[in-house]
């Protein structure tokens, strides 16, 4: 905690040149997050008082100026590198709507040494122990959890929650000192009962909150094989709160019966993603992958807070890297984590209306990137962002940057299956069938014969008046999403 308590600015997580509004906003945010009622009694009170004290000084201009003079000069370090590419340099001046694609890349800046020791982890494993998990699924989950225990370092926190129609804390958030006791507790998890995710998530999140700090990596990993019953809306609300607290939720769905649309929405809200595990034996590999990703985090909980011009609207947002996932947006998008070895890559599709009145240039997006860099003295980092594009009456056709075209060539396929499923929801089976057939054709052209075949099978089912199979729908979704991963990282194992 000493690093965090360096100075008053650090306590609130604002830069030295923060505006009074930013200070007020940061104070409200931290006060809510670190209020003693919501946290572990001892550390909570101390933290909260520290924040209180900092705000009292920084909120008053004279006191703030006097205090700032006593501080040593700030060492300026580039926090993150942001690269923006647009699908074209100029918009057409027209009263008709038009599309613009924005590719945003957020990287660890050059010159930041790759850390050998990751920041302390604060991980909550939330395990579905409903009846359907009985057998190899639970055995593998347990084995994987026990292996993770062994990898914990003395400074890491881990909690495990098991849930069915209620939640039980297998062991509360604690440092990995008492390995044998934890191991024994894990092996005692019994299966039985239904699936009510809310209780599990709630318990998992409150365990993480006990020791939460911006200097830690705070994540919930949810493992489930079923639909949750009747509490989806409550779960989504909970995810919203987790997001505001800076906790990421990642989901692993085992088998074919879980609700991928729901799990995707839930995790995307917090900047996490969901993965599809078709075979029990893959659970371990996925958990390991997840952990190795987590321990390479440079900046966590990156979110884009933005305002769009009145004539611009965000139609679609998708994270291409590191964990491909569609992302929700409502003035703020959770983008996930920047890893040392892998940048965040996000593609935004923006619809721009009526540009006739605009001279030369349209600044369509103004906002900031906010994130926590756990290794920093001041972990919360804000970076302002403005994106603009030229406007001209006569626009010569220009090819978009190849990285946008390449990303779109794969994303279009993912989008096609998404639209097909929306058609099915709407009852337009004919349209859905046609989309799937088009998708299969495109997959074949890209050399994805196995996936194309699965798509065709599902299209045939639809044509015959049947529903898509749950397994097929998931294979198509996660298969097309997997095309966005770099070679060698495809997540699906075909059987």
């Amino acid at each position: 905690m000493t690093r965090f308590m360096d100075n008053f600015y650090a306590r609130l997580g604002v830069p030295r040149d923060a505006t009074p509004e930013e200070i007020r906003e940061a104070y409200r945010e931290s006060a809510r997050k670190f209020h003693p009622d919501t946290r572990d009694k001892n550390t909570g009170t101390e933290l909260f008082l520290g924040i209180q004290q900092a705000y009292e000084v920084l909120a008053q201009p004279e006191k703030r100026a006097a205090y700032s003079k006593t501080l040593p000069p700030e060492t300026s370090l580039d926090d993150v590198e942001v690269e923006i590419s647009l699908s074209r340099s100029r918009l057409l001046s027209t009263d008709e709507p038009q599309l613009l694609y924005v590719l945003m890349e957020i990287k660890t800046p050059n010159g930041v040494p790759i850390r050998t020791e990751p920041p302390p982890l604060n991980i909550g494993l939330v395990i579905d122990r409903s009846t359907s998990m009985t057998g190899p699924r639970m055995d593998v989950v347990k084995a994987a959890a026990r292996q993770l225990l062994r990898q914990l370092r003395p400074e890491d926190f881990l909690s495990i929650v098991a849930f069915s129609d209620r939640a039980e804390i297998v062991f509360p958030a604690s440092r990995g000192s008492d390995y044998h006791r934890m191991d024994a507790k894990v092996s005692m998890i019994r299966t039985g009962g239904g699936t009510e995710m809310y209780y599990g998530l709630e318990a998992g999140i409150s365990e993480i909150k006990r020791y939460m700090s911006p200097s830690y990596i705070n994540q919930v990993i949810l493992i489930t094989d079923g639909h949750t019953y009747g509490d989806e809306a409550k779960c989504l609300e909970l995810a919203e709160i987790a997001r505001m607290d800076g906790i990421t939720i990642s989901g692993m769905g085992i088998g074919d019966e879980w609700n991928d649309v729901f799990l995707d929405r839930l995790t995307a809200k917090t900047g996490g993603n969901s993965v599809y595990i078709s075979q029990s034996k893959d659970i371990k590999r996925f958990l390991e992958q997840k952990f190795s990703g987590i321990s390479k985090i440079y900046a966590e909980n990156v979110r884009l807070v933005y305002d769009l011009q009145t004539n611009a609207a965000l139609r679609y947002a998708f994270r291409l890297k590191p964990d491909p996932s569609r992302i929700d947006s409502d003035g703020s998008i959770s983008l996930g984590n920047v890893q040392f070895n892998e940048e965040i890559r996000v593609l935004l599709e923006i619809l721009i209306n009526d540009t006739e009145e605009i001279q030369d240039e349209l600044e369509f997006l103004v906002g900031k990137l906010v994130m926590e860099i756990p290794t920093r003295v001041v972990p919360t980092v804000r970076k302002n962002l403005k994106i603009k594009c030229g406007v001209a009456v006569d626009v010569a056709p220009e090819p978009p940057p190849s990285k946008i075209v390449q990303a779109m060539s794969k994303l279009t396929l993912y989008r096609m299956q998404e639209l097909a499923r929306e058609d099915i929801e709407k009852g337009d089976i004919k349209q859905a069938t046609r989309r799937l057939q088009n998708l299969a054709t495109n997959l074949l052209a890209q050399g994805q014969a196995v996936l194309a075949n699965t798509v065709l099978q599902e299209a045939t089912l639809l044509e015959k008046g049947d529903d898509m199979s749950e397994e097929g729908a998931k294979q198509i979704k996660y298969g097309t999403r997997g095309l966005l991963l770099p070679p060698g990282r495809e997540t699906l194992s075909w059987h």
Partner: protein, 172 residues
Amino acid sequence: MALICQNCGHNEYVGAIFCSECGAKMIDDTGMATQSFEGFMRKNVEDQVVFDDITPLKEAGGKEKSLSIFLPDHDKAIPLSGKLKFTFGRVSMGQQILPDIDLAEYGAFENGVSRLHASIEISSPVIYITDLGSSNGTRINGVKLVPLRPHLVKHGDTVALGKLRFIVLMQS
């Protein structure tokens, strides 16, 4: 004013890159052709790169063989896994079929790598490389391959796509 897809007739907004209906590309972006080198410098690609710490390839039989390529000029290894066949090339605009491994960022264009240059196929226990009719050819340890015919590669072999070199690394 709307854009009409040449393939299916679907209407898209101006600025669309792919048709949301049929997935066809909406933009006309005939890419750069691969440049051919006059008096191609064979010498550059014949030098074999010698490594001290190449882990010896275990004999065939081991199932989990991992394959990667190492680009000595960039000091970068690219693992190849999850599939049995990988195509190599460079991504440029106007391309229908994209290579699995895009070498564009390693100076593929400058080194005369074609858009679809070669493929590597794992056919356990051996690995084949096939030149896909590239402009500047593919060489294994300096020896030029007959196009469209699979050739065996071994652990530690230096492969050159045009002038871009990499070393094949296999581990059991």
